[in-house]
Amino acid sequence: MNTEARLSIRGQAPAIVRRNPPFSPGRIGAMVLRYVYLIRGSWPRIVELAYWPTMQMILWGFITQFLIGHSNFIAQAFGILLSGVLLWDVLFRGQLGVSMSFLEEMWSRNLGHLFVSPLRPYEMLVSMMVVSLIRTLIGLIPASLLAMMFFGFSLYSLGIPLIGFFFNLIVMGWSIGFMASGLILRAGLGAESMAWAAIFAIAPICGIYYPITVLPNWLQTVAFFLPASHVFEGMRAILVDGAFRPDLMINAALLNVVFLGVGMAVFLAFFRSARINGVILQVGE
């Protein structure tokens, strides 16, 4: 250490302004910056974000090309499988974006530092939503553009409703991501597979590739309570019948209000449980 460094205690620091509002865009911005640094600092991470959606799209594009000569349903609505796979990825990446951001903090054993700072848990949730949105767009946009190049199909042909589909799916993904993150916080990294697996529990029920009517009656009832089911039904209504179904969009949005509220409440309950059981300082690889 040099002498100058030894003598510098506060430097010429101005008086510290201890602004501490209950909701701070500055703190949310700090957390978003943390994840942006992480993504930006590793080109394989950026490639990986776009890689899986693109591979899925190519796979289902060729399946579509094969089925188009063998199925009237597919022939009538070219792109129904490609739209399904791309929109499913919004749901999947939305959830993964939240869960992975939280796992990054657990892997790096940083939660103790974060939660002795003025950062509120709900501010962390908001930052995770923003990062999830960025990650999902990084994955979706290249895959959708390549679908145009390879198969001549544009996801954007869904029109304005695509915006509603996108946000309904990503919000549902966030909700499940919050629940999975809370569970991982409470149960430890032994439960980290939840970050990947949680969303697949609803995949067979929400009608990504087939109408909900294919399901047994009792599963159709379960599907009715999933926002994603209404989104995928709405998507098919546009592609097959050429009709926008506002009722399905409204159903999805209302259900998502409940899903998001429950997801946040579950995370905060697990967070409180973690404070009771003393796991926040113990988590890590």
Partner: protein, 253 residues
Amino acid sequence: MLHPAIEVTDLAKHFGSIIAVDDVSFSVSAGSTTALLGGNGAGKTTTISMILGLLLPTNGTVSVLGEDVLRHRYRVLPRMNFSSPYVDLPRRLTAAQNLKIYARLYGLPNIRQRLREVAAAFDLGDFMDRQVASLSAGQKSRVALAKALINTPDLLLLDEPTASLDPDTADWVRGYLKNYQTATGATILLASHNMGEVERMCDDVIMMRAGRIVDRGSPPELIDRYGRTNMEEVFLDIARGREQDGDWSSATQ
């Protein structure tokens, strides 16, 4: 009248049938450096976690800088900070990125200037732009301490601040913290297993064993009371259950 920086009353923490902290009461004077000592499992880290509000007590109250931590934790968090070898900074981020993020989380007004100051104070210039993962243990500790002081805290809680440091760096850290306290009037509560460090830095020592406070006093008082020559011998006496009678409880009032 000045509040004590920390006031802990009837604090207890049970994990099922395990009693980690058992009805502990003490106060820490503003501007003092106080050590929380004890063997492994004595309850030091649990107590510090409850003071930080990271752990909710089974019973009791914690007041920090005049605020009830259980009810108004967020009023006091901007005025305190913490460092521990059990908590890391994100390893894939550079030292500068980490410090910038924490400066933002604490709402500091002039972040570039503050980063320059802590970089100079902790001699971080050579590795500010390196990933934390690539730093030596000593360099990581300096970055962690820079983070702990980024908001110029009035209360600093340090869990083993010089663990894993070489003697030269550890000596520098101790000197730095002492100077910081003299310059700012901050209060420092530290848990340590380094008795030389405690003798050099601390005005007051709280000794814990099995979740309870078993003795308290300044290092010279404790050394005198136990008829020993240094704090290491006092520590061994207490850890092995050979406490001396003393009116240490009056010091908690």
